[in-house]
């Protein structure tokens, strides 16, 4: 029979599952939510002020969530608090995107499948991790959000109808294909990079061969 303590822990775990965050699905809450509204005297000394998570500390998920939940609650009261923890903080660490885009190790070490995404007319390339999407609908939604556009409905015969944009990808053989032409799992393993085409090209692609 479950003790009250473990029942409480279970409740916390379930609470965590239903918690709304801005993090990407599958990522855990970042331990260090920047706290900027703490009222502290400058004379007091230091080390217990920040929620620390040293790399070698092993904290159980339940404990983590306990402290994090209270942090979140505290932060939503703060006027100037930034949005609750994302998986990555914007612009941190301070590496130019140019350099970040060139790194592969990070993606491989984390088990992610990172591909570059370009959009016609946009000055910057973006990078996404295909592993975090369950299928095409999630991927397309993410692309729409990322580039602030609508992609339209996919159909086998006619490609993407109803918008000026069509997502395409380059596969391992160097061919450019329309996203959605192959089953999702095959797509994830063969996609080298993505490109969101615009205009007449986009409409043409769906009708090809």
């Amino acid at each position: 029979m479950a003790t009250s303590a473990s029942a409480y822990e279970n409740d916390i775990k379930n609470l965590k599952a239903t918690e709304l965050t801005l993090g990407l699905p599958g990522t855990h809450l970042q331990q260090n939510v920047p706290i900027i509204d703490q009222e502290k005297s400058s004379a007091s000394s230091s080390s217990n002020k920040r929620p620390l998570q040293l790399p070698h500390e092993e904290t159980s998920p339940a404990q983590d969530c306990g402290s994090k939940c209270s942090n979140i609650a505290k932060n939503t009261d703060d006027d100037a608090a930034p949005p609750p923890s994302k998986a990555k903080i914007v612009g941190w660490p301070p590496i130019r995107s140019y350099r970040k885009n060139s790194l592969q190790e990070q993606s491989e070490a984390a088990g992610g499948i990172y591909v570059k995404v370009s959009m016609d007319g946009a000055p910057y390339l973006r990078k996404i991790d295909l592993k975090i999407y369950g299928g095409y609908p999630q991927l397309l939604k993410a692309l729409e959000n990322m580039f602030k556009l609508t992609i339209g409905e996919y159909s086998e015969k006619e490609g993407y109808k109803g918008s000026d944009y069509a997502p395409t990808y380059e596969d391992k053989d160097g061919d450019w294909m329309l996203v959605g032409d192959v089953p999702w799992d095959m797509f994830v393993t063969s996609c080298k990079r993505l490109r969101i085409m615009k205009g007449s090209e986009a409409r043409g692609l769906g009708c090809a061969v």
């Binding site: 100037a80 000055p123 490109r195």
Partner: protein, 603 residues
């Protein structure tokens, strides 16, 4: 008296029209002095000296304005193009910097500004003899590049660093029209991809036929394939070419051919440093080291994108002469690095990835006794991991490389002891930038904040002018900086400090502070207020996700009319007065009118 040229408004009634020499038989007495002065001032090249000279009196001001040929504009919004070109009439070389540095990390909204166009038109009118243009973090279009290409017949040098907004057509226009071009350096700039199915313009073939004047051609950041035959022909007809930095579309066999064409090269960026896909490894292996042996003047190597470490030994023949090596795009481990680095006795500048580990740094420390600048970049930017470099590597470097002047070090763990050791072992440090990737991370051994480490740096490194701090830091760290960092000009702060007092220490204590960038730290209006006496001496102040309110900023704006306070907020109607970003800079002219909606400029 300040030493910066744009901190005082122009002197009233100052028109600098020198009487043409042809009309004068013997110049009036006051003009004699001016002519002598102009001739003497020609020898003054340092802009700080020139700024000082211009403040002596009206006639020195006029003479200096007429003789300044290199103009440096540290902030494109500090002064209007018209004002700059009206004062300085005979400029041959111009440097303009635009966006604040934090724009590199996506903290500034797109379309924020720093448009080159108004400068372009002003320059075309005022300086038809313009020879050199250096732009950093500016936004320029293909039209701008076209204008540059066609407006300056003597144009020799174009350097674009961290710029964006232009594409291949713009570059092609410069190549085609600037017949005297010596330098075309595109560095870490975003060059817009052409549409995939369109033929990518072969800008390399736009250079005119015949011998070129090219001395430096840098296009590592141009993300599109180049026509290799055109490139080879260009290199073959450029006898003065010393610096060549290729993009990663150039494969190693192609590099081999280029190097044999240009054995006079001193600076080489190798491109991809792996075979292209259509050549199977093992097929016809060329002796790549012969190419490196042929280029006897090589002192600087970079590139190595997509490197196949097997090819790294090819550079051995060049190692003994190398003074600069950039492997920061190469995932190379300690065992792969060692045979290379152990030959680089003359190395002064080294950029690497942390994949070389503390062990690799040990090898560097053992061999590179002349090292002046070291940058260690992270291969993995996640906060939770144990990194491959640590305080061990930093300490070892400090013991081996006593002449170190500049360091940028990314790591996941660092101790005060190692930082203190570096402060004592490397007294020549001018630039100390330590980035502990885990935010708010204390010393893992003592669990103390990193205050003492950075304190030792400002205390012991008496030449320090640039500092970037990280890790868990209290106001005490800033107290140290205010007390000892008297020469500090640039300070970067992130996720640090306890209260307003921290920022106050810095603003009150650092008289030479010019560039201050702060993010995610608990400094508010009272702290900002404590800098009123100093803001006109600064190039800019950046504070994002701190505790500033619009009201607080408004008070500063009222107190200092020549300060532009840009408040940048992504949300429109906010319940409270707190602001996301403050970007503040001195400006002689009216607030700019090219700002996007999310920017409000307080007056």
């Amino acid at each position: 008296m300040t030493h910066s040229g744009s901190s005082l408004p122009d002197l009233p009634n100052c028109t600098s029209t020198a009487a043409p020499m042809s009309e004068i038989r013997s110049p009036p007495p006051d003009r004699v002095l001016e002519i002598v002065l102009e001739n003497v001032l020609h020898f003054l090249t340092c802009r700080r000296d020139r700024n000082a000279a211009s403040l002596v009196c009206h006639s020195w001001y006029r003479a200096e304005a007429l003789t300044r040929s290199d103009l440096f504009i540290g902030n494109c919004y500090a002064v209007s193009p018209h004002r700059a070109t009206s004062r300085f009439r005979r400029v041959r070389s111009l440097t303009v910097k635009g966006k604040p540095r934090f724009a590199d990390f996506d903290l500034l909204p797109l379309n924020w500004g720093a448009h080159f166009s108004p400068w372009g038109s002003a320059l075309a009118d005022a300086y038809p003899w313009l020879e050199k243009l250096h732009l950093k973090r500016m936004s320029l279009t293909d039209d701008d590049l076209n204008l540059i290409a066609r407006s300056f017949p003597s144009f020799k040098e174009l350097v674009l660093v961290c710029c964006e907004g232009f594409g291949i057509p713009g570059i092609a226009a410069v190549a085609a029209n600037c017949r005297l071009l010596r330098v075309l350096d595109l560095v870490e700039s975003v060059v817009e991809d052409a549409d995939e199915d369109e033929e990518v313009m072969d800008w390399i073939s736009c250079f005119p036929d015949g011998e070129t004047h090219l001395e430096s051609l840098v296009f590592e950041c141009v993300e599109c394939p180049v026509n290799f035959e055109s490139l080879e022909r260009l290199v073959a007809r450029s006898p003065y070419l010393k610096k060549l930095r290729l993009n990663h579309y150039v494969s190693i066999p192609q590099l081999y051919r280029l190097m044999h064409r240009a054995p006079q090269l001193t600076h080489l960026g190798t491109g991809s440093f792996c075979a292209s896909d259509d050549v199977a490894v093992g097929d016809q292996e060329l002796d790549y080291s012969s190419a490196f042996a042929a280029c006897k003047s090589l002192v600087c190597l970079s590139g190595f994108r997509d490197i196949l470490p097997d090819y790294l030994p090819a550079i051995y023949p060049a190692c003994a002469n190398l003074t600069s090596l950039n492997l920061s795009y190469a995932d190379v481990n300690a065992d792969q690095l060692k045979p290379v680095i152990l030959q680089c006795h003359k190395l002064q500048t080294l950029w690497v990835l942390d994949s070389i580990c503390d062990e690799g740094l040990q090898a560097v420390a053992a061999t590179c006794k002349d090292l002046r600048e070291l940058r260690v970049f992270p291969g993995n930017t996640r906060e939770e991991v144990e990194g491959p470099v640590s305080e061990v590597g930093l300490e070892v470097i400090s013991q081996g490389c006593r002449k170190l002047q500049s360091i940028l070090f990314f790591c996941q763990r660092m101790t005060n002891a190692a930082v203190i050791a570096m402060s004592k072992n490397c007294p020549d440090l001018v630039v100390f930038r330590l980035c502990i990737i885990g935010r708010y991370r204390p010393d893992p051994e003592t669990h103390e904040p990193m205050d003492d480490g950075f304190g030792a740096i400002v205390m012991n490194c008496k030449k320090l002018t640039r500092l970037a701090v990280s890790g868990l830091l209290t106001d005490q760290a800033f107290r140290y900086i205010g007390m000892y960092g008297k020469l500090v000009r640039t300070l970067s702060v992130a996720f640090a400090g306890d209260s307003d007092q921290g920022l106050k220490y810095v603003l009150e204590g650092c008289p030479n502070l010019q560039k201050l960038e702060i993010r995610d730290s608990p400094f508010g209006d009272a702290a900002l207020h404590s800098g009123l006496h100093h803001f006109y001496n600064m190039r800019f102040l950046w504070m994002s996700t701190c505790k500033l309110t619009r009201q607080g900023c408004q008070e500063i704006a009222r107190a200092l009319p020549h300060l532009a306070l840009e408040v940048i907020d992504s949300q429109e109607d906010k319940a409270d007065d707190h602001i996301e970003i403050l970007y503040m800079y001195r400006s002689l002219d009216r607030p700019r009118n090219d700002a996007p909606k999310c920017v409000t400029i307080l007056q």
